[in-house]
Structure formats: C-alpha cells, structure tokens
Symmetry: C2
Subunit: 347 residues, 2 copies
C-alpha cells in the first residue's frame, strides 16, 4: 500500500519521492513554507498530487494565522495562496486546486476565521477524495482500450505517487487492466533527467506485481519500429482547448514516433487538466529547472565541471499526434475537446 500524502495532528507527511526507490522516507511539513518548498524541490510531484498538497498547505497556513482580525486573516490567506501558486508553473492542477481554495477565502457568507479554516479543510479533503474517484473512472474507461497481452509504453510517473493516493491516471489504467487479467507487459521509460519512470513507476509496478521492463528514453522509438509496443499511455500537466498537451519533456518525441509507427498514443487525465482559458499549447507556460539536474544524476556528476545544460521540464505535444484523451467522463477525441469541455466551463 502506497500512501504518498498523510495528514495527522497538524503535520503533513509527504513521501519523499526524490529518495525512492532506495529509501522510503517521509518529509514532515509543519508550516506552509515547508509545503511550498517541498513542491518546488519535487519532494512531491505529479500534477494532481501537487494540487492536493498545495491545498493542504493552505490549510496548514490557515491554522497558524491569528483569528482576531478577519480582514487581516483573509489577506494573509491570499499571500499563502500566492506563494503556493508560485511553486511550479506548468501543471494546471496547482492553480485549479488553489482557485477552489481561494473561492472560500472570498468569504461571501462573512464567516468567522475558525469557520473559514474548517471550510478550507473540507475543500482540500474534497479535492483529494474527488481525485481518487476520478482515477477510478479513468482506469475504467482506459482499461477498455487494452487488449489481452498488450505491450504498453508509459512515461514519467502517473500512478499513486503522482495523484496523491489514488490509482493514478495512465498508470491507473495499466493497473486496472492487470487486475482484469489482461496480462499487460509495461515498458517503463526511465524519464530523464529526474528518472520518474525508473525510480517511481518501476517501483509502483513492482509493488503491484505488474510485469514490466525498464528502458532508456531513447529506446522507445526503435521498439516501436520493431513492433514491440502496442500502445502508448501518458499523463498530462495541462491541456489546451485545441487538445495540445503539456507534459513531461520527451512526451512530444514519443508522440511523433508513435504516429510514425502507427502506434496509438493516448493521454490519460482528469478533465480538470483542460485549461479552458488557453486556446493552444503555445500559451502554456513551460518550466525550466536547474541545470544541475542534467549535469548530475541524483548526486553523481556525469558531465565535466562547469558544463552548461538546458533543462526543459515539459514539452508541448500538438493535438494531431494524440489518438484520444482518456478522462473520467470517457474517451474524448482531441477534435471534440472544445465541444465537450469548453463552453460550459468558460468563465
């Protein structure tokens, strides 16, 4: 049983994903600054998990605030939410979850600070709970696309670790297919520079007993050429209304290689990943991270001292490479995204 986020007695415990798979250690956060740092430093990562953690971080921050002056209380809450927002730029879930928390801080009912704290907790727990239910629905729809014995390429980590305790998105589908007896063989792409595939996905699959093989990212294309991959299943950090997808760097390359080799390429994500304010992928902000993640591997230096590196954490996959989206509302074609999710959600 993997429990990546635990809240108990005013302490938020985050399974330190930087230290997996060799160590299973929890980082204790006792205030919201620690939570913000944990998100920025990738103690916790994965779009849905970041959203949940940030929401819980706001609750921790609210707990610390004095309750005497309601106006000051609300103003301080805004600052806490602002800090949380600044931690990671690409995943929509972060701002989506914080939008929901902020809605409560508008305090349209004129509640007292203690009641607002209570409402914030309720909302954070609701976000967390909903995520798990959404994972179940995605797994249900996605597993229907898997045939017996399929060899499935997956990328980065989209499992329990990435979704704060649920089944996962893309990886949740694979687990569901395995539970249904479809005997999938999973090709786990290691996902440089941070190795979420090698460290986290391989670990989750081992815990679940799902057969898998680790590959380096540059092997995926040739395995497709040789007919060794039946479908590709990835997650998403943000989806534009036209279906362009921001996801872990390397996703775009896999999508091009999949189309070139007529391998279906599916993106599994909650509908909340669709950013209705953004028309195309060009408008999605993309995070660049420190060069050290490229010049070093974990703690080991792999390039000459002083080597300059580029560290793009995400890329954009244009919609025409995507076979379909697998959401909690069912399978959606990129061309249907605007129709199905756009109008009713636009503010």
């Amino acid at each position: 049983m993997i429990d990546p986020i635990i809240y108990q007695d005013g302490i938020l415990r985050l399974l330190d994903q930087r230290r997996l798979p060799t160590q299973r250690v929890y980082l204790e956060c006792r205030d919201y600054q620690q939570v913000a740092r944990a998100i920025r430093d990738m103690v916790v990562r994965g779009a849905p998990a970041i959203g949940i953690t940030a929401a819980l971080g706001v609750c921790l921050g609210a707990q610390e605030l004095p309750e005497e002056d309601p106006a000051f209380f609300l103003q301080q809450l805004q600052e806490i939410i602002g800090l949380m927002r600044s931690t990671r730029p690409t995943a929509i879930n972060l701002s989506w979850a914080l939008d929901r928390m902020e809605e409560i801080c508008k305090d349209e009912e004129g509640l007292s600070p203690p009641l607002i704290k209570e409402r914030l907790w309720q909302e954070a727990l609701k976000i967390w709970q909903e995520e798990k239910q959404i994972n179940e629905a995605i797994a249900h729809w996605g597993a229907g696309l898997i045939k017996k014995g399929d060899k499935i390429l997956t990328y980065c980590n989209t499992g329990t670790l990435a979704t704060g305790g649920g089944l996962g998105t893309a990886l949740g589908i694979i687990k569901q297919a395995y539970r249904e007896g479809k005997d999938p063989l999973v090709m786990v792409s290691e996902t440089r520079p941070y190795l979420q595939g090698a460290r986290l996905t391989a670990w989750e699959l081992k815990e679940e007993g799902v057969p898998h093989r680790l590959i380096t990212d540059n092997m995926a294309g040739f395995l497709m050429q040789r007919g060794k991959i039946d479908l590709v299943l990835v997650g998403a950090d943000r989806i534009a209304l036209n279906g362009d997808v921001a996801n872990k760097i390397g996703t775009y390359s896999l999508a091009v290689l999949a189309r070139e080799n007529q391998v279906p390429f599916y993106v599994a994500a909650p509908t909340s990943t669709v950013d209705v304010r953004i028309a195309t992928g060009k408008d999605i902000p993309l995070e660049e991270r420190p060069a050290q993640e490229v010049t070093h591997l974990l703690e080991q230096q792999i390039a000459p001292p002083g080597t300059e590196a580029i560290n793009l954490a995400f890329d954009i996959t244009p919609h025409h490479y995507i076979t379909a989206f697998i959401t909690e509302k069912g399978i959606i074609l990129p061309s249907q995204l605007r129709l199905k999710l756009g109008p009713q959600n636009i503010n």
Copy 2:
C-alpha cells in the same frame, strides 16, 4: 591534446573512457586477452577506435607467439583474430580492420613469423594513420555544410576518443567548423545509458573550447519543434548498401524527429563503414548489453532492486530519414550509395 590510444615498449595504453570525465586514467594492456576485454568492457569504444585497438591487439598477441613452427604460429594468430572479432558485434570497423590483419596472416608470400609480426605492425599503424587522414577529409567536406552560427545537435561520441586519435567524424566536422570561425553552438545529447555525450563529447568540446549545451536525449525533439536546432550530425557503426544505418540507440528517434521538423539529418562516417555484404539494415547484427547499464547509472542504482531492463545498444535508421552521408570521398546521398561504393567493393 587527447591521446586515447598509446603504444610504447610492448604495452598498449588505452584511455579508460568509462572513467571520463572525472578521471583521466590509462588502462595498460600487456597481452591480447586484456585488449579483447577492454573492447568488450568499453574501456575503448567508438567504431573506428575499436578497429584500431583490435588491430593493435592482434600485434600484441603475435608478439607473444613462439616463432619455431610457422604453421602453428599462423593457426594461433587466427585464434587471436577470432577472439578480437567476438568482442562487439555491430561496428563494421572491427571486422574490417581484422579482415586486413587476416589478409597478412594468409601469408601468401611464405614469410617467416618475425616478418609476419613486422607486417602486422605495419598494417595496424597504417589503419590507424589512414583513420586520421579520413577524419580530416570528412571534416573538410562536412564543414562546408555548416552555416555561421548554426545550432548543431550531435549524439553519442564521434570525436577523437571514438576514432583513436583523429579529429573525429561527426564531431570532427563540428571542430573544423569552429576552427573556420563559424561559431557553432553544439547541443550535446547525453546518450543514455552509457552517457557518451555527457561524459565524452562534452569533455572533448570543453578541451577544444567549442561552446555547447548538454541536454537529455528526450529534449532533442522539442528543441527541433521550437526551431532551436539547425541540423543533426551523427556517426555510424555500420551502413547497409541501401543506406540504412546502424548507430547508437536513439539515432533512429532523432532521425524521425528531424524529418518531422524539416531539420537536415547527416551521417558522418568513413566509406569503410559501408558493409557491401549487407543489403539492408535488417541484416545488421545489433548488440544487446547487460541490463545493469540501464538499472544503474555509472555505479548508482536508479531502479528498484531486481528490475528487469532492456538494453539495446544500437538501432537502425532507415535510409529515407537520412539527408546525406558525409564521407572522406565527399557528400553522398543515400540513393547514390550503392552506385558510388557498391560494385567495385563487392567481393
């Protein structure tokens, strides 16, 4: 000055490429078994360098043999050559260099063992010397394709380290363009699992003072999509007569991504890399290496204990993805390969 292979006083010193860039250590080989092991264990790697090292290894082996019985001498030489041939399967240069050494062992002139030893040394040194001249010619032709300020993506290591002391093939072109004042900016793809890009190419470019940026292999495609790469320059381990190329795993993916983004994709290699006995890439033997190279990075474990991995060391890039070959005889289109290099070389 980089000197990857040094022979002196009966000892072959190989710059241990496994320990670069953090340590600059030579491995001393005093017999041919040590040389064979050094090739298999990748102390020395790179198609031309392997050929040179194997030829020198045959010479070391010959030195040890008793000279009394010429028939026994020649028979033992065949066994030494056989061992050298078995070290790595994909690079053609190994068998090409050993074919040249074997030609001498046929001893059509009925020479004495001491004279055969002498002839073997001469041939090995000739192979080594020719390689350097070929590098110069490739660099000359290739640099003509580079425009001022071009951003060049290169892969694996195709420099001095890979060619046993010459300028290099693909990397030699880049160095030449730099010397001609064309101010190239080199994107160095790290080249998992063995990190020849991060460890060796970045090191060579630093030694030469050529500006470069290290990237992970999965960033290359997105950089092309965003117009950050003007051309791709790679080497080759073996080329089929139809122009299909065996090269470091990941080359195929780069070629597909280059074509998708209308980025020219050049393969720089001596014409000896063309295997005239092989019609298409399907017939090129591809090496698989130990899983540990994928589950570990250098000495550091990156996946859970017991994780199974696939470790394909090479892939095949079909000829239609290749813009042109850059050889010592000039620029050759894939469609012209058979015409220009085929008939006169076929045995």
